[in-house]
Amino acid sequence: METGLDCLRLGQLATVLEINTDKSLKYRLQAFGFVPGTQVCCRYRTPGGSVTALEFRGTVVALRTRDMQKIRVRCL
C-alpha cells in the first residue's frame, strides 16, 4: 500500500518511494542516507504529533510530520 510517510503508524515498516520535499531538506535527508529504497520505521512522536522520530540505517532522525507528508512510502 502506498501512502505518505506521515500516515505510518508507530512501529510500522515502510520503503521510501519518492521524496518531494523542498531541495534543502531533501539534500539533508540524503546526507543521512535517506533516499528512495531506504527502509524506514516511525519510532516516536511528540504529544501533539508534529514531530516524528524515524529510524533508518541504524540511526534515529527527528523530522516534522508536516514535512513527512511529501515523502511517499510503500508499507511493508
Binding site: L25, R28, G33, Y44, T46, V51, V60
Partner: protein
Amino acid sequence: MTKSGERKITVALAGNPNVGKSTLFNRLTGLRQHTGNWPGKTVGVARGQTIRPGAVYTFVDLPGTYSLEGASEDERIAGEYLRSGEADCTVVVCDGSCLERSLILALQVLECCDRVVVCVNLVDEARRHGLVPDGEKLSARLGVPVVLTAAGQGEGVEALLSQIAETAAREVCPDRLVWQDPIAQAEQIARECVSGDKTQKAAFRRKVDKLLVSRRFGVPFLFLILFGIIWLTVWGANYPGILLENLFDMGYVGLSTLLKPLPWWLRGVLADGLYATSARVISVMLPPMAIFFPLFTILEDIGYLPRMAFLLDPCMARCGGCGKQALTMCMGLGCNAVGVTGCRIIDSPRERISAILTNAMIPCNGRFPTLILLGGLFFSGTGAALVVASCVALGVTGAMVSSGALNRTVFRRESSTFVMEMPPFRHPRLGQILVRSLLDRTLFVAGRALAVAAPAGVVLWVLSNTTLLQRVTGFLEPVGLALGMNGVILAAFILSLPANELLIPVILMALTRQGNIQAVAGVTQQVLQTAMTWQMGLCTMIFTVFHWPCSTTLLTIYRETGSIKKTAAAFILPTAVGCVLCVMLNLLF
C-alpha cells in the same frame, strides 16, 4: 622535513557528528576539547599536536558533518579544508556500531582526498551491542588502511598513529576511485564487513527512549529534570558559598595586617579593590557553577539534549523557531557566549539570527548567583528557589516570545524545517565528567571572571574613593527609580558589562561609598537588606534576566554574525524588554 630530521605530518580528522571524533582528538593530542553526545558539539576547527619518535603530528579536528557538499557552515568548512589538500593524511572516523551511515561520508572523503585512513571508532560500544566490524575485510573493500579504535579507552590509538605515518609517506595513486551511488555502496559494504545481530542495539535504545521521549511522560520528565538541576544548584550552592566567604574574610584580615606598612591608598587598591572584589566574585559564582556544570555535562554525555530538542520542537515551532534553539537556550544557562556559538547548529539563517539575538535572555551562570542571593534575601526557603526558577522561566518565555516576534516581523517567516539526529544513549563516564566539567569549564569560566574582576576591582575602588561613582549614581538615580531600582543598582549594571558576576560586588562597593567595608560574612546580606526593598529586589532580579549581554557574549555575537547592527540589536532587544517589564512592575507597586 624539519631541520632536526623529524617529519611533520598534518592530519585532518573528518567524520559524522557523534562518532567520538573529539574524544579521539583529545586522546591523540592530550588536549581537553570539550566533548558531548549531540550533533554539532564541535564548532569551528580545533588543532592539536602530538610528538612521537621521528614525527610531529598536527591534528585538525574538523566539525562533524554528514556530507561534504552541503550548504551548512560546518559542511562548507570541512569540505573546503579537505579539498585544499593541506592535510598530508585524512582520517575518517566512523561509528563502529553504525558503520553503514558513517561509510556514506567515508566514501565521499575517499573521492576527494589522496591519503586516507579509515578509523572505525566506538568498537567497544559495537561489541557491547553484539556487533563485530571486520577491519581487514573493510580495508580490502575500500582499498585504504583501516584501524579499529575505542578512543574512550585509548584502544588502538597508537596503531592509528603509526598507520597515519605510513600512509602519509605513501606515493599518491594517480587515479582515485569513484564510487557510483555511495549510499547503496555503503549499505552493501557495511553488510559485508559487520557481523552480529543488529537488532540488539536498537532494542536497548528503544527501551530507554520509550521512557524519555514517551508521549505521556516525556515533557513532564523534561521539566522535572530542568527544575531539579536549578533547584540543586540553588540549594547546594548555599553552604560552600558561605564557607568560601568565611575563608576569604580570614584572608582579608591576614592581607590587611600584611599590607599595614603600605600607604593607605595602595592598601585600599590592593585589599579593598583587587582582593575584595575578586574574592566576592569567586565565592559568589564558583559554588553554583561547580554544581551546575557537572549536572549539565551528564545530560550532554548520555545524549539527553537532542531528546530535549525533539520534545520542545512543537513548542518552539509555534514561535517560528525549531527544537535546536531550545538546545542553544540550555547552553545559555551555562554561558551565553557558548549558547550563541552553539546557534550554528540551527539550519535556517534567519532562525539562527533570532536565536542569537534572544540567547542573552536566558540567565547564565554568571547571573545565577545574583538571582540566588537576591531571591534568598527577600524570600524564604522554598520561596527563594521558586522565585529563582520563575526568573529562569520568565527569561525562557521572554526569549521565545521575542524570537517569535522577530520571526514574524523583521525576519519574514520562511518555511522552517527541523531535522536532527538522535544519537544512541551512552553511559555517562562519571569520573571523567567530574574532572572535565570542574577543571575545564568551571575553572575556565571562573578564571575568565577573575581576569575581569581583579582590574575592575581596582577601577571600582578608585571610582568610589573619588566622587566619580557618586556623581554617576546620582546622575542615574531618576532613571533607576523609574525602573524600580535606584541609581546605584543601575550604575552597577552598567559597570558589570565586562562580566555579570561583578554586579553584586559593585553594588556593595557603591553602597558602602568609601569602599572600605570589610568583606565580612553576613554583611553582604545586611547591606543589601537595608538598602533595598523587596520591590527593588524583584525589579533588580528581572533586570538581571533582561539586560544587555556581557562583553564576552557581545563579542561572540559580533564574531558569529559579522554585523555591528545585529550586535547592537542583541544589546537593545533584551534591554528594552527589561525596561518595559521593570517600569510596568514599578507602576504596579
